[in-house]
Subunit: 460 residues, 3 copies
């Protein structure tokens, strides 16, 4: 299986065409949201608002920046664990995310921020665009090392589109709550990516096996990604929640869940090794599963102990997944999941959707208060007649829709990516930066420290 | 001295037991603070508050995230300077901090947020939990490379407990001010850790000496830790200060002190080397001493030049400590302080406590204004009769209490950790990841870049 | 050309003298801004303000911390791409920035925050000080590897001074808008640095050529710098904009421009290589040009598509600059620009100034509203008679003033730095940490993993 990996014309043309299209579409459609428009001063006066702080910017911007770091440094560096694929991990993630956020601003804008012929963009749109791209970063983890940047751009184009449709179905038609995206981002992203990699199955991948592992320093680089994901996850799950208590609660629940998840991940990692040694793969990945799994319920009354229980379970399930499920998927189901996203985003995403459905259906006015319940779930306007138990069922329906969209979408996109002219690497050249990157020369030999050719100091 | 370092059952059982206990205790005790509860909407209406921004979340959350980064990336990477201990530095720090924040939420909650049978948790609790764990991270620096993760979890369990008691004595009984924790976090953490490492003295540690140094890239990883600590320290010292001017002032003072500290650290580092070369150890550590030493006084009227002077002195003292005091402590007092925390947290912590006591006792209404003075030191309610000079004496008393708690607690915990069944490494295996981590294979040889096995490009 | 590089007395004396001078000047001049002073409580009452959030701290502090990360981690790590110059890149950047922010607080304070004999310092001053130092970090990129830390401190001393004068001329005399500093920071910093390196031309630099390149891991470290700069650039360009919509808009425009810039940088990088491979230098640098080039116009009504166009063009121009202009500058104009700042800050800075001038001159009340236009450009008070088209001309004048200041200042400072006693390295010792840093020993050989000398586990 030999392909042409020289991307000299394909990659530039793809990038430039996409970017020109984006410029044109932005020119036609995208305008500033009222809070980012100079006319905001008139709105402020009309509303008798005395404080500039009421601008949405101040509610969301710090969370936005945290999410931004997760997408670019978090996901980018998490995938640098491979010994010879650091440039591609960080660089391709950078490329696909930079494209994806622009396309997501449009797609999500048409669905959610369309007003009088224009998309009105504000800070919440930026966060949602980053979220959407997060699901592409998840899927990237499954195909890491086996696809070309052209394939990644095409995958991003389609996945962002499907994501936005799925998100619209869930949030607007089913009216489910999914602040941290257990369903829309993680479940959808993971099963989409797994389906794509299943279609792209490479029977000869073992030829690149010696590069599909880490070296000492690449694992430390990956920990930068892990930690920035872990630390900022409370911002991720709370970034688009309702102002005030919901945002506050989402951050607390995520903080708790992630902390518990670390302890059970470490416990299982040690228990699974015959000498009790820890495995960096588990520490880098399973410790994050708790954040995925409180994505839906974080803004609900999950309670701090509920968050701990979710994190507790996910650390165990995720670590077991890395130990047993990933090898099984690869050998039996022909799913080659480079980063083990099934364990970090797939199963925990499903768990998160279920936790969300259960938590929603248990909601009542004792716990939330009358006004609190209405506000938390938006039980007013069109949703006046909805009860918590109905909400729970809709939440569950959301999970199935997400899975179905991921599978169907993944098959279609996988087939498109299987076409032989996208510049994908041969089986023996997977997980290798040198295919797509100009590499620095290896340093000649151990660098000798030249004695300083300096004069003797004349000073005392 | 040969111990069994196979942690296969000890580490998992410890982690799981602790986490189960935490789940149960959270279930019994921990609830959301009013600002994170759906009933907040009722409170808002009762108070005629029109703005969601009055939720405590918006005052503290950005600072919280900065502190969070300091604990996990800052301390974690600062300790990666050792050539073969990067996994453990980052990984064990991750583990102990994830456990510690949960336990701190409980311990500090019982002391400070207990209301009608429950602990009410909000964003300020999250910050304080991170602070508490910060003192454990400090102590970890002293024993780095010489203890097992099981020992670290046990140390964390006890240290968080003692920290909370000490903090309660200082803040609630002595009513001292210590926003940035010069006393509660740094002095306590440092002398606790030094006492523990003194009890755990290893006469045969020289057998691991060749690994107790850095390599080129490990020093760069450590600089990631240094810089995130340095940059976010203004958030650390201001995170729990009073709203408004106090928080603002604490950030400015810390910024100034840290800047000055860099210049004097560099000056001393160069002056101490016979060829005037800089030592990475000093740049990584002594540059941070200025942040420690304004911890207590940052929110007071220390004045910008006062902050510069504190930073100036601490850069010098800390660098001299690394050059002369650390070797002396090791050879004469049998205190093996891996990271030199005595120079970064111990002495600067004491300086910070003294600076705080002096600054407090000099407070007057000329500088603070009448209302300002009352608000800055809480001279109302139970403290109505307290004068600035009394406050200064109480501050000084706080330092001695912290030192006493650290020494007594350190001895007890050190003795517990000396028991031979915690999985600690032998003297010749210290500072070595391979004891507790599955290691990647070394790459075979210099990786050859295979010529791309690609077709010749058919495009022009 | 052999110089004495032993800095034992020169560096310490320089650092200590500068720091002592700063302490004295701070003592005489620097006080807290009202918002950071305990008397703020009185001001609040006088203004009937009920919310502590009206303190400027809450408007600016999150942005400040992002900018702070860009200066210290962003610029510091961006320059670690050289194989043997990581300590110096991060460490000297740390040193010069720590000195520079203090000196900038004074210089900018005298020009902008001087009130009744004192400089009043608040969070906005901290941001502006970081901005000022940003221009020094830019210039550092041109001389990287070829100067001593003493030279850097002297360059910082002069450059901060000149920056502040230039900034005063632009912002106060010409009354131009330059929120993100396309002119004041990037254009000025770049051409200043290029002029200095032109004066310091080293004909024998080829002797250090083998170290003027990257190794695999040094490029990954550099990507940490790139990404933190890229992610936080929206905060950079919006940090000192007017409250509310202007800050909001500046963040959106910068986000858009940077995203577009990534795609065109990748496109050109691939197109310029005969096998279509990407070059890390382009990905690390050209992707950031979009942030530079919307610096002036970000807070104006550039429109999202306008931002995309700016980013589109800058990615192309910057990458072409690295491929063709940098070699030309070095061989023909004797400008040795280590980091290629001409492509990242020079040309994009000029483009940014032009974009700003055009955007300003196109402003009208249709787009901004009557009040919006007045507020956006400050067309009141002394500027009542100014029209948008006049504003555009003043903007253009600001560019020329910045270029003139940079060239004249750069020549003077370059001549000062050419004096032979500053400890600069010989031509054959450039780009080498070992000249100024104590280096760790190279690890003996491939580290063998010792078999654990542990007892057989007695547990089951």
């Amino acid at each position: 299986m030999v392909w042409n990996t020289n991307l000299r014309w394909r990659l530039p043309v793809t990038c430039l065409l996409l970017q020109v299209a984006l410029v044109v579409l932005f020119g036609v459609f995208v305008r500033y949201d009222m809070d980012a428009d100079p006319h905001w001063i008139d709105k402020k006066e009309a509303e008798n608002s005395t404080s500039d702080l009421e601008n949405e910017f101040y509610y969301r911007y710090p969370s936005f920046q945290d999410v931004h770091v997760m997408i670019f440094v978090g996901f980018g560096f998490l995938m640098t664990f491979l010994q010879r694929y650091g440039y591609s991990s960080v660089g391709f993630n950078f490329l696909l995310a930079a494209f994806g956020i622009q396309w997501a601003l449009l797609m999500q804008g048409w669905f959610h921020s369309y007003y009088r012929g224009n998309i009105r963009v504000g800070v919440e749109n930026l966060i949602n665009a980053d979220f959407c791209v997060g699901s592409v970063c998840v899927a990237f983890g499954a195909v890491l090392g086996k696809v070309s940047p052209v394939q990644l751009l095409i995958m991003t184009l389609f996945q962002v589109t499907l994501f936005s449709v799925n998100e619209f179905i869930l949030l607007n038609l089913l009216e489910v709550k999914d602040a941290g995206g257990s369903m829309t981002i993680h479940t959808f992203g993971a099963y989409f990516g797994l389906t794509v990699t299943w279609i792209l199955y490479r029977p000869g991948l073992h030829q690149s096996k010696e590069r599909q592992s880490s070296v000492y320093h690449s694992d430390l680089f990956a920990m930068i990604g892990t930690l920035f994901l872990w630390m900022y996850w409370p911002s991720f799950n709370s970034a688009v929640s309702n102002h005030g208590d919901a945002q506050h609660r989402a951050a607390i629940n995520t903080y708790c869940s992630l902390a518990a998840c670390v302890l059970t991940s470490v416990a299982l990692s040690s228990a699974l090794h015959k000498k009790g040694k820890l495995d960096m793969v588990h520490i880098q990945n399973a410790t994050l599963a708790g954040g995925v799994a409180v994505g839906t319920a974080a803004e609900m009354m999950l309670m701090p102990y509920g968050s701990l229980i979710v994190g507790f379970i996910c650390g165990i399930v995720s670590t077991l997944g890395f130990a047993y499920l990933t090898p099984f998927l690869e050998s039996r189901l022909r799913v080659q999941d480079t980063c083990g996203i099934h364990n970090l985003h797939g199963i925990p995403g499903i768990i998160g959707a279920i936790v969300g459905a259960v938590t929603a259906s248990c909601a009542n006015t004792d716990v939330y208060g009358v006004k609190g319940l209405t506000q938390a779930f938006g039980f007013d306007g069109f949703k006046t007649n909805r009860t918590p138990s109905m909400q729970g069922k809709f939440q569950a329906a959301g999970l199935f829709v997400s899975l179905a969209m991921a599978l169907v979408g993944g098959i279609i996109v996988g087939i498109i990516l299987k076409l032989p002219f996208w510049g994908q690497p041969a089986d023996e050249n997977c997980f290798e930066d040198a295919i797509y990157w100009e590499m620095p020369e290896e340093p000649k030999s151990t660098v000798l420290h030249p004695e300083d050719s300096t004069l003797k100091p004349s000073e005392p």
